[in-house]
């Protein structure tokens, strides 16, 4: 879609929202106060993006990133909890050195170093400072302070004196930025309300990072940093201008991908393995293409077409590669790369739930799993909690996989519905998971299992569906689907669970999401402008801690 049209549509969206806002039915944006500030560790994607944004896309980033940790269903919430382990730091240091070495290498320095030293064997503080000022603010996502500059220049000069190489000093400067805690972690800061010291407003630079990671999954660009330095991100009007600019940017796609990659738990693809005898079509290419297919459909629908989020579950639109075509059993003419593919009424598939991605991930190495699929739908897409299996279940009741008496998963899982202990949780998962049983452990279509026809009828919270295609429609119409996206996106944006004072805000966001026609760009905008996103509460622990420190200082002073 051309960007002018995109802007026109976006404008229309705003007009509609405003028009609705003028009516008495629409709620005013409620007051809210965000929870504690969070300190998030950069994800692998964010680290890579920073290197790409600040340097270039042809630098090699070789190393193992510390595994992220999912909390409350999201890596972005987990990122506010994880630390850096000794082996993780070792890797950050090795990657940092390797990147810095490439940046100042003879081949690359003319691209990345904004100056040439007077004598390459001697320290040149002016040139070193120019380099530091050229890359430092974007890596650290803030203007440099004196404390960032002087020690680095001194260390670089010492390194040059030791080695007789100006660029060894520059390499040291760049490495020091890449291992710095304020690069690897996103630090947040806020100023307290003069009237209420527990009420904090995020400062402009923190707003810049929150916005750019929410919308682009990247650090702020120069324009956003400049806006922050001008103080434009604390006043609603100038903030809205930046938010609109960022939503209209082509980089929005990157942010939307990152969000859905997290919600869909696609990080699990990196360690997915399947039995090659049962699934000879399983390959690394399939894994990559399946992940990309779903994200591409999401982006096409939500970003390019600005469509209704719920329609993702019924959209006939898809994209294919040859590798996917082999699993989907559809003809793909393009030898390489992607081509559009529209599912027809004759196809078994419709909407995201029929994608290979979900069915690959939510399955065992050697077979499908209606239960895992049901858990995924409940937890990730409907934001419900499925309790873990109790430890003392009598699995003797379970009907084994290779018992010829039970040919389909539905027959084998029947015990879940008949036993009281199992039923409480499995009634949530199995009836919807069984709706996807025509998709095998890698998402291939089948109509029978062990010679018996597969029945994909079922019900979702009282709404019956006759088969897997109808499941998509019932799912789309679930009243939980929209609010769950709101909840996920909000938690993703702030990196934590909503606090009590944000409950009204969440309801408001749900209502305005509905009014917007379930449009993601409208939701992103509303979250970015909401008070919950822009404010914070002083942590009780921090307050206690400060109290303790003050007491200690007093004691020491007295002593």
């Amino acid at each position: 879609m051309p960007s002018s049209m995109r802007q026109a549509l976006s404008g229309l969206g705003i007009v509609l929202t405003l028009a609705a806002g003028g009516g008495c039915s629409s709620p005013e944006r409620p007051e809210a106060q965000g929870g504690e500030l969070v300190m998030r560790r950069l994800t692998e994607a964010q680290y890579r993006q920073a290197i790409l944004d600040v340097f270039a896309d042809d630098l090699e980033i070789a190393g193992r990133f510390e595994p992220d940790n999912r909390r409350e269903g999201l890596l972005s919430v987990g990122s506010a909890w994880v630390t850096v382990t000794p082996s993780g730091f070792e890797q950050y240091e090795a990657m940092g050195r390797s990147i810095a070495g490439q940046v100042v290498s003879e081949a690359n320095r003319s691209r990345f170093v904004p100056c040439v030293p007077g004598d390459v064997s001697l320290p040149d503080s002016n040139c070193a400072e120019a380099m530091l000022r050229s890359v430092g603010p974007r890596l650290l996502r803030r203007p440099l302070e004196d404390a960032d500059i002087r020690p680095r220049l001194a260390a670089a000069a010492a390194a040059t004196q030791r080695t007789g190489d100006f660029y060894a000093g520059l390499e040291l400067i760049v490495t020091s930025l890449l291992v710095a805690p304020d690069f690897l972690f996103r630090l947040e800061a806020a100023v307290s309300d003069p009237m209420d010291s527990d009420r904090l407003t995020l400062d402009d630079l923190t707003m810049a990072s929150r916005l750019s990671y929410l919308l682009w999954n990247a650090g702020p660009d120069r324009e956003l940093l400049d806006a922050a330095i001008r103080g434009d991100l604390t006043s609603e009007e100038t903030l809205a201008r930046q938010v609109d600019r960022m939503i209209d940017s082509p980089r929005l796609e990157q942010g939307v991908r990152a969000f859905f990659d997290d919600v869909f738990r696609f990080d699990a693809f990196s360690v997915l393995s399947k039995d090659p005898i049962r699934y000879p079509k399983f390959s690394n290419a399939l894994v990559q293409d399946a992940r990309e297919q779903t994200l591409q459909v999401v982006v096409d629908h939500l970003v390019d077409d600005r469509g209704d989020y719920r329609d993702l579950f019924t959209t006939p639109h898809s994209v294919m590669t040859r590798t996917l075509g082999a699993v989907y059993a559809v003809p793909v003419s393009a030898e390489k790369g992607w081509q559009d593919y529209e599912f027809s009424a004759a196809d078994a598939r419709v909407g995201l739930l029929s994608h290979a991605s979900f069915n690959l991930l939510n399955a065992h190495p050697g077979r499908s799993s209606a239960t895992l699929r049901g858990v995924f739908m409940r937890e990730a897409l409907l934001c419900q909690t499925v309790p873990p299996a109790p430890a003392d279940v009598d699995f003797g009741l379970f009907n084994q996989d290779d018992n010829p008496a039970y040919r389909t998963a539905r027959e084998r899982l029947a015990v879940h519905a008949s036993d009281a202990t199992c039923r409480n949780c499995h009634r949530l998962t199995d009836p919807i998971g069984l709706g996807l049983e025509v998709f095998d452990g890698i998402g291939g279509y089948r109509t029978t299992e062990n010679g018996a026809p597969i029945d994909t009828s079922g019900e979702l919270d009282g709404d019956a569906f006759v088969d897997h295609r109808a499941l998509g429609r019932v799912f789309r119409n679930s009243p939980l689907v929209g609010p769950c996206l709101v909840e996920n996106l909000y938690r993703y944006a702030v990196g934590r669970e909503p606090v009590y004072s944000e409950r009204r805000l969440l309801r408001h966001l749900e209502e305005s999401f509905t009014e917007s026609g379930f449009r993601l760009d409208a939701l992103l905008r509303n979250i970015a402008l909401s008070e919950g996103f822009r404010t914070a509460t002083r942590s009780e622990k921090a307050a206690l801690d400060e109290g303790r420190q003050a007491a200690r200082a007093e004691k020491e002073g007295a002593a």
Partner: protein, 458 residues
């Protein structure tokens, strides 16, 4: 420096054994361990420096069949039950423990988690995020890890970096190396200094890599910024930052070690660079991956690059599977019917067999490296354990545990100890004490104990 000695280290040892070294109080005929124990029980290398003691864990998922795994007689010379048959070749190096429990003490049994965390952290965790650390290996590496280049090395034969049970907390899990090549490059790649290269005749004098000094100054720069950053954070994040700086200091320490010549280590040898192997949860691949990583690890230990290690052969709720099967080890333990004649799940039990074979191979690999007058294994204590006994019911009573090695003369392996329902923390306490930690009691609430397992001690 002792490395300048012209005496070949082995000659020195032999001379000592013959009693021909002036002043050496030796009596021929005693097992070497007793000869070479210093006052605090450490075996002594030829250089006069004590040989290091190492601690490791070896985890396998989904337990065993208690009736087929637990020995029936206590003490030495017990008959190996069918599921322990694979360890026959190393049985003198391994003690077997049965009948020890993670005491739930009112907490829910979090399936496939409570058993492993309970054993490693000293009690049943109240939730998935609380009391998840520090694990036993962290307690021990905090005490002894500073002596070596790496505080600890983690490995997962499953190929999954997050398959690790080494953690300071739920949010500070030490990720696993997942291929022999990655492990090799980390330990023996750039930064490795062969401790024996310098002692060789005609070898050039030691010159530290000038880059090491520059790397150290990068870390100093960052460390100097600590106060400023701390002042920006709340208490929780300050604790996380503290972990970051602990990790930074560990690397500083690593670099510090690289600025001086390492003392010679007779057993140290750089292994050949391993080939790339297929990584998947196919049990044959996992075993091959595991065996090749064990080879690299053994030499990493012999070269004193680390003294603490953690190997995950398969994760809790093991996803290992057989080629062509629709099931995994985990799903089999729940869904396979017990064979009525045999009384156990035949297919699931094959994975127990594979796990015990891999464990025996691991022990054998450590035992095959000569060190001092014994083997590397003699200077290790390796805890093998699983998250459950009977996986079908997720039982955390009668957890299977084994300890391999002599911990430098402190342990006397080869026995079977029945715990009669005592908490698994008794073993954790025993191992901490064997590793020289001044700990008198260990464990949370009902799992707390002050009774080491004396039957395991030398």
């Amino acid at each position: 420096m002792s490395s300048t000695s012209n005496l070949n280290r082995r000659q020195l040892l032999r001379a000592a054994l013959r009693g021909s070294l002036g002043g050496a109080a030796v009596s021929v005929g005693l097992p070497y361990l007793e000869i070479f124990l210093t006052g605090n029980g450490d075996a002594v290398a030829a250089t006069g420096a004590p040989l290091p003691r190492r601690f490791g864990t070896w985890f396998w998922g989904c337990g065993m069949n208690p009736k087929r795994w637990n020995p029936t007689e206590e003490g030495r010379g017990f008959e190996l039950p069918p599921e322990l048959a694979p360890i026959a070749g190393v049985r003198d190096q391994v003690s077997v423990l049965s009948g020890f429990n993670v005491v739930l003490d009112g907490e829910t049994n979090l399936v496939h988690r409570t058993g492993v965390i309970g054993t490693l952290c000293g009690g049943a965790p109240p939730s998935k995020t609380e009391n998840q650390g520090p694990t036993l290996d962290i307690l021990i590496s905090d005490a002894i890890g500073d002596a070596t280049r790496f505080r600890s090395l983690e490995m997962a034969a499953t190929g999954v970096p997050s398959d690790t049970y080494s953690r300071r907390s739920e949010d500070a899990k030490n990720p696993s190396e997942t291929t022999p090549l990655a492990l090799y490059l980390r330990v023996f790649g750039p930064g490795f200094m062969d401790p024996n290269a310098l002692g060789a005749e005609g070898a050039p004098a030691f010159v530290p890599d000038p880059k090491t000094v520059l790397r150290k100054s990068v870390l100093s720069l960052v460390a100097e910024d600590r106060k400023r950053i701390e002042s920006l954070l709340g208490a929780r994040d300050r604790a996380r930052l503290d972990e970051y700086f602990t990790s930074l200091r560990q690397l500083e320490h690593q670099l510090e070690l690289q600025l001086s010549a390492p003392p010679p280590l007779e057993a140290c040898e750089r292994p050949p660079e391993p080939d790339a192997l297929a990584v998947s949860r196919d049990v044959a691949h996992v075993k091959a991956n595991h065996a090749a990583m064990a080879e690299v690890l053994a030499l990493a230990l012999a070269c004193d690059q680390t003294r603490v290690f953690n190997m995950v052969f398969s994760e809790g709720a093991s996803q290992l599977h057989m080629p062509g099967s629709s099931d995994t080890h985990h799903t089999l333990t729940h869904e396979e019917a017990r064979d009525e004649g045999l009384g156990y799940q035949v297919e699931a039990t094959k994975f127990v067999q594979h796990s015990m074979e891999a464990w025996a191979e691991f022990v054998q690999t450590l035992a095959s490296v000569p060190e001092g007058e014994g083997t590397l294994l003699d200077h290790c204590a390796v805890l093998a354990h699983s998250e459950t006994s009977d996986a079908n019911s997720h039982s955390v009573t009668g957890l299977p545990m084994m300890v391999a090695g002599r911990a430098g003369g402190r342990l006397a392996p080869g026995t079977h100890v029945f715990g009669a329902g005592d908490p698994t923390t008794r073993l954790g306490l025993t191992l901490q004490q064997a590793m020289g930690l001044p700990v008198a009691k260990w464990g949370l609430t009902a799992n707390e104990t002050d009774r080491p397992i004396s039957e395991l001690l030398a």
